[in-house]
């Protein structure tokens, strides 16, 4: 069964401007797939809805999340102290299709394959666990990550990636531009691309991959109510093959996603 549990905050530290890394310990987390997220429930009673945050890394009995202060909820989160408790759900969503099990899942064995994990801004965190899992499955992992100004999680990525390419919008560090521009210009080639980040970036990567006729998985974001498929709040438009041909359907980001194949997504909204 899925659950909402009380976890122990092991640490909650700033790792870049307005970006925090929190490690939460709980023996009830269960198995974690790369690309899954958790719901974080806040203490301030005026904010009732859970905050969905991607799992950045996971150990036997703990998970790590990395978040940016985007509003009141994440600001509250940033004030939580280590050794306190936090209400958190067990992993939600399907994650990236690398387990060979999920709907539309591709290959289970990545040996001999080169893959790129491409993250933009606060989309970088899930790339860490993803890189780790892909490496475990035998892939040669390259990272292409873009930031506004200040990179983070680079050391973590280096543990699992042969190369970590960094881009910044302002050119303060690494490639001057965004992650997809960098992939194109630096020719960071791969057999498959995995991505999380702003919609414009995901679309650019998806277009690039469609052109190259290779697979690309993207993790989408949408305002959520429940995060577990009850409220039908978080939909996106997905092209689905049916008996009658191609059809555009509203799919729940939290239930059917958050990861979709780039070609499936109806981008033009």
């Amino acid at each position: 069964m899925k659950k909402v549990v009380w976890g122990n905050i092991l640490c909650n530290d700033p790792i870049a401007k307005d970006v925090y890394k929190m490690q939460i310990q709980s023996s009830e987390m269960g198995p974690v797939k790369a690309g899954q997220f958790v719901n974080i429930y806040l203490e301030d009673k005026s904010m009732l809805l859970p905050r969905p945050l991607s799992i950045c890394d996971a150990e036997e009995d703990s998970i790590t999340i990395v978040y940016r202060i985007a509003g009141k909820g994440t600001r509250e989160l940033s004030a939580y102290q280590a050794m306190n408790q936090i209400r958190v759900s067990t992993p939600l969503g399907n994650g990236y299709f690398i387990e060979g099990t999920a709907l539309g899942g591709q290959i289970d064995d990545y040996s001999g394959k080169t893959v790129v994990v491409a993250g933009g801004g606060i989309g970088v965190p899930p790339m860490v666990l993803l890189a780790r899992r892909l490496k475990e499955k035998g892939a040669e992992v390259l990272a292409a990550v873009g930031f506004q100004e200040e990179p983070f999680l680079i050391e973590e990525l280096k543990q699992y990636c042969r190369e970590v390419h960094v881009a910044t919008d302002r050119g303060t560090c690494g490639f001057h531009g965004n992650a997809v521009q960098m992939i194109k210009e630096k020719r960071i080639d791969a057999d498959e691309y995995f991505s999380c980040g702003p919609k414009v970036m995901l679309k650019a990567l998806s277009d690039f991959c469609t052109e190259k006729r290779i697979h690309c998985q993207v993790s989408l974001e949408e305002r959520m109510g429940c995060g577990y498929g009850a409220c039908v709040g978080c939909t996106c438009k997905i092209k689905v093959k049916t008996n009658q041909g191609m059809e555009i359907q509203q799919k729940g980001v939290c239930k059917h996603g958050p990861v979709f194949f780039g070609e499936e997504v109806v981008w033009d909204e």
Binding site: M1, K2, K3, V4, Y41, K45, S46, M47, L48, L49, P50, S89, E222, R223, M224, G225, C226, Y228, G229, A230, C231, V232, G233, C234, T235, C236, Q250, K255, E269
Partner: protein, 300 residues
């Protein structure tokens, strides 16, 4: 202690149900055993699939939320084929929530559902974005009566009419639908609300306005249940902001025979069963043996 309630002739083993649109059989069932509940109320089904409104459809407000899902649903046939068999196998009575844009649409769904194992139907005449002649069915007593009459004619299951709180006189609407044979009334649906993001300088919902729910709306809901209890004889499902067992007891004191848990289930996926447990504990502490005793204890 006996928590069972006879609702329009259907026996519910306890008064806790799920509010339409905040429950999904398989997904909610991953968090708790839904057969513990008195009944489940499904999300609204229409005669054909509806794709709902553009996103963002959800926003948070102080002590509550706004939604503009727009009754996205796969249509009554898909509901009967995919959702109902799963629910049936849990043994929980199913109350199917019915959406429509016209009287005919409501009737066609009600007729179709009458052939199935649903225990009752809840007719949603109160969705802010379903309009006829410029006013929602639920805000005009005559139109509310007309829908009730038409649906009652084709339905072979008890018909619950779900009312909107966005009206001047809720008792008048309640009397109008009772007069046309409604077997029960449920209230409240969402208040109409709006929020503007002053940083982005635009409404937080793509649809501009949306349905407002959660603990923030409870005082309005309790007041309306109290008013409707004084206006009609038919049983009432009370809802609107129920977060705890004591909240459930409050609605029952105000006059509800059963209650639904909505937004609370988004805030805490196991809320319906948690609230059931808390209600039992409240009854134990107060020495209440039946649900009826809770209402009788209320001193106006």
């Amino acid at each position: 202690m006996d928590l069972s309630v006879d609702f329009a002739g259907v026996l519910l083993k306890n008064p806790i149900t799920t509010a339409s649109g905040t429950f999904s059989a398989r997904e909610s069932g991953e968090f708790y055993d839904i057969s513990e509940l008195g009944a489940v109320i499904t999300k609204g089904v229409a005669s054909e699939p509806w794709s709902g409104n553009p996103t963002p459809r959800i926003a948070e407000v102080y002590g509550g939320m706004l939604n503009a899902v727009g009754l996205q649903n796969p249509g009554v046939e898909a509901f009967i084929k995919e959702e109902l068999p799963y629910l049936k196998q849990t043994g929980t009575p199913v109350i199917a929530n019915v959406a429509g844009r016209t009287v005919e649409e409501y009737c066609s769904v009600a007729e179709r559902l009458s052939e199935t194992e649903v225990a009752m139907m809840e007719i949603n005449i109160s969705c802010p974005n379903v309009k006829e002649g410029g006013i929602g069915f639920g805000t005009d007593p005559k139109m509310a009566a007309a829908v009730t009459k038409a649906v009652k004619k084709v339905s072979r299951k008890p018909v619950i009419i779900k009312l909107t709180p966005n009206v001047t006189d809720i008792a008048e609407i309640a009397r109008a639908v009772e007069a046309e044979g409604a077997d029960g009334i449920s209230l409240i649906n969402t208040l109409l609300g709006m929020k503007i993001d002053v940083q982005r300088k635009k409404p937080v919902l793509a649809n501009i306005m949306g349905g407002f729910s959660g603990p923030a709306v409870k005082p309005v809901a309790v007041r309306m249940v109290y008013q409707v209890r004084r206006a009609v004889q038919v049983p009432i499902i009370g809802l609107g902001g129920i977060m705890t067992g004591e909240d459930a007891a409050e609605f029952i004191m105000a006059g509800a025979d059963a209650v639904s848990v909505g937004t609370a289930a988004l805030v805490n996926p196991t809320a319906p069963v948690d609230i059931l447990r808390e209600l039992k504990q409240y009854m134990r502490e107060q020495g209440f043996k039946t649900i009826g005793e809770i209402h009788e204890a209320f001193m106006k």
